[in-house]
Amino acid sequence: MKKQASALAIATLMAVGAIGVSACGSNNKSSSSSGSAGSGGGKAKKGGSIRIGSVLPDSYDPVLLQTNQGNQALQLVYTGLVTYKHVEGPGGSELIPGLAEALPTISADRKTYTFKLRPNLKYSDGSPVKASDFEHTIKRLQFLGGPFSSFSSVIKGVTEYQKAKKADADISGITSDDATGEIKVELTEPNGSFLYAIALVSGAPTPAAKSPFKRSTPPGVGPYTIDIKNPTREFVLNKTPGFNIPGIAKGNIDTITVVKETVTKMTQDVIDGKLDFMTEDPTGDLLPEVKTKYPNRFRMDPNPPNTYWFFMNETTKPFDKKEVRQAVNYAIDSRALQRIFGGRLEPSCNFLPPSYARIGYKKIDPCPYGDPAGPPNLAKARELVDKSGYKGMNVTVWGNTKDPRPAIVEYLRDTLNQIGFKAKTKVIEQQVYFGIIGTKKTGAQIGFTDWYQDFPHPADFFEPNLSAKALASTPTFNFQFKSNPKLDEALKKLGPEADPATVADQWAALDRTVVEDANVAVYGNELTTSFFSDRMNFDCAGVHVVYKNDWSLFCLK
């Protein structure tokens, strides 16, 4: 894969050059997704301070955070060995060197990655960045059991490290040389997603001396430094003086203050200009008003890439029969669900999100179960249910309390009743929902689920949700409790590919298979919003496929 690596390196160097010229994002004003990764649109104004409304990160510790809000803020503070390109549009899913000089060289057997750290890097507190800090970060991640630790468990020696139960035990697969800055990472098997996973904030090196093995906020390397004024109410991001890593935007705004408010108040404050941006979507109640009155500072995008579908347990009745699963697909009406989402749903039947156009999404046309943007086919659905012999069966539809999921499963319940079942809902607390339905004993037949990407790679969608490998975890996210053998085969083949773009067609074919075999009942992709105050330059909306909005691209008018 050396050839691929150098090709990538050249490509990224070119991209780096392009980015270096302009710090502003694309000119795209349209309200749909994937704008060009262009560098046009004039010079962005530098300086100023803004206020952002958010529900605040679930954790300020980079190895422990899980939510997108956390990611948006902390990606400015912590940079990994590699990172994502800071551009709007599909280009944002490309990897570029971060703290490493270049993208790693990958061995012929695709199991060894060699990085070289840039020289003379310093953390925000002035201490030098050492090559061994990366291993320390992975150790922290594994020891504390961070939410994204499963992605680095493919590193050789991690399983042993966890068994040792000692913080300072060694991970045999990572060797680092502080003198030369070289870091060698050995995997137990080829894994194409690995690099994408460590590009996340959870893989960002932090100083070993200042990163204890408990919840903490160590310093990092990034265009901004964080100052936590009050962990549950406010924190401030200040531009890091002297930050200079080619390819990583330095940020236009000097000071970003992030405060916690209710979503309703946030919406009003952005309208009034008391806040400049909000990480949340305006409440359903105010959304129509915002859409119509402020179109020049409001847009919707299916970011971060996500898919919404109903899972169907293939090991229990009635969804063990393909006809029944197909019936569900025929019966659901994305237009109805669109209303429940307050208009923020793009109907679709693909399992992969449209933002993956470059790396594996190809619109399935025509959709095997009818046009998602058109009326459902209840008659056909009823016919299939009759044929299956399961008509009149009791079905429990599972959902959780997070808005608007209760309404979504309510709709599904009603629809299942219309096609011949006796359905009822069971809505449980969101915090424990996935753990409960992910346990086989629960026997959840059908219910709500969604997937927001961890990193831009089709394997991230297929593997955790549909594969046999996922069934090894307890709880699992494979709520079908079965896997399509064609899928497992494809994953074995495509998973190790370092760049999914090279095998995009095959990923698209897998997408098609999953939909045709009715392993899932997809209804669409959620559109998230970017709503700015009048002061903000709307050309710098910074809509990003990984971070939703890249704040380092923001600028004032």
Partner: protein
């Protein structure tokens, strides 16, 4: 609470003392008859009592309304349907998610909710749920209070200590917090005590929770009354006759508690209905998709900007029910407490 007839009125009803096989029942006809007569004369209380009954009747008639007038049921989603009003076709739920407002016609009289369900139908069915849970909880609470209060007050000593400690424990918990903690926990896991097995979605669970949380508020006054009663002469007399403890409790103590309970009961129902609304509002009471006035208010508050009526209407029903019960309960209390009415004099 007056158990024995007030001295001023004893002379007015000489037949009050009914001798029965040597034992004298002091509590008996007198307070009841007087109270009933007074209540009958209290027009206002009766009117509000009737108001409550009207609401109950309306809610009982929910299935008729649903099938005959609204032509739907409380669970049917009409998300993509359209209805014709004055010749114009309108979306029940607009593509932006905003549901239709009141149509003041048979279908969707009060409009629709976010899932396209008929608000008026859900209002009536929700009333059934809220009222059933409220009345059920009050009954259970009364029963538990009688048992706890009587046992504690009568036996005293260790039994009293244990029961009082349990009551104190419950009473020291902030009631709403205890309610939602139990509500959330039990909704998740269901209730399994011995032979009793309830699914997390059962409507009995909120009833049981409310009953448990409100027991101390009735049990403690009852206990106090029992403590006083057991010293009375008629109890001593009964004992002298050779009656066992259980017999005494049933024949002497309980009847004397009855007037207290009658006065308490409407107010207990009112507070139980209010409590259920609060629990459901916070998401720890009735589980979806079952409607209750509390859940409807919660849903309505979420859409209050685009449809204030969604929050106002269930609230008004709730207020009217509580008002009916409170005023009627007041009237009952006035009827049993001779001093209240007597005191209303121009000073």
């Amino acid at each position: 609470m007056a158990i024995e007839p007030a001295s001023e009125l004893a002379s007015a009803v000489p037949e009050a003392i009914v001798a029965e096989g040597g034992r004298t029942r002091v509590a008996g006809l007198a307070p009841w008859r007087i109270a009933l007569r007074r209540l009958r004369r209290n027009r206002v209380a009766l009117a509000f009592g009737a108001l409550f009954l009207v609401i109950v009747a309306m809610c009982l008639a929910a299935p008729i309304y649903a099938s005959q007038i609204a032509h739907t049921d409380p669970f049917k989603n009409h998300l993509t349907d359209q209805i014709t009003i004055d010749g114009v076709k309108k979306d029940v739920v607009a593509p932006s998610g905003v549901p239709i407002g009141p149509t003041y016609s048979g279908r969707f009289f009060l409009g629709a909710d976010g899932n396209g369900r008929d608000i008026a139908v859900r209002l009536l069915y929700g009333g059934r749920t809220s009222l059933t849970i409220g009345i059920g909880a009050a009954l259970m609470s009364t029963l538990l209070s009688i048992v706890a209060g009587t046992l504690a007050g009568f036996y005293r000593g260790r039994v009293d200590a244990v029961i009082t400690q349990i009551l104190n424990l419950i009473w020291s918990f902030p009631p709403v917090l205890l309610g939602i903690a139990l509500g959330t926990a039990l909704a998740l896991g269901g209730l399994k005590i011995g032979p009793l097995e309830l699914d997390g979605d059962s409507k009995l669970i909120p009833s049981i929770i409310i009953a448990i949380v409100t027991v101390p508020y009735t049990a403690r006054p009852l206990r106090g009354q029992v403590l006083a009663l057991r010293e009375k002469e008629f109890v001593e007399a009964a004992r002298a006759q050779g009656a066992g403890s259980l017999r005494i409790m049933f024949s002497e103590i309980l009847p004397n508690l009855s007037s207290t309970l009658v006065v308490f009961f409407p107010l207990m129902v009112a507070s139980a209905i209010g409590f259920e609304a609060a629990l459901s509002f916070l998401g720890a009471g009735v589980r979806p998709p079952n409607p209750s006035w509390g859940t409807m208010i919660a849903d309505g508050v979420e859409r209050i900007i685009t449809g204030p009526h969604l929050a106002i209407v269930p609230g008004v029903m709730l207020v009217l029910s509580l008002l009916g019960l409170n005023v009627f309960g007041d009237g009952v209390r006035d009827a049993f407490d001779p001093r209240a009415k007597v005191r209303v004099r121009r000073s």
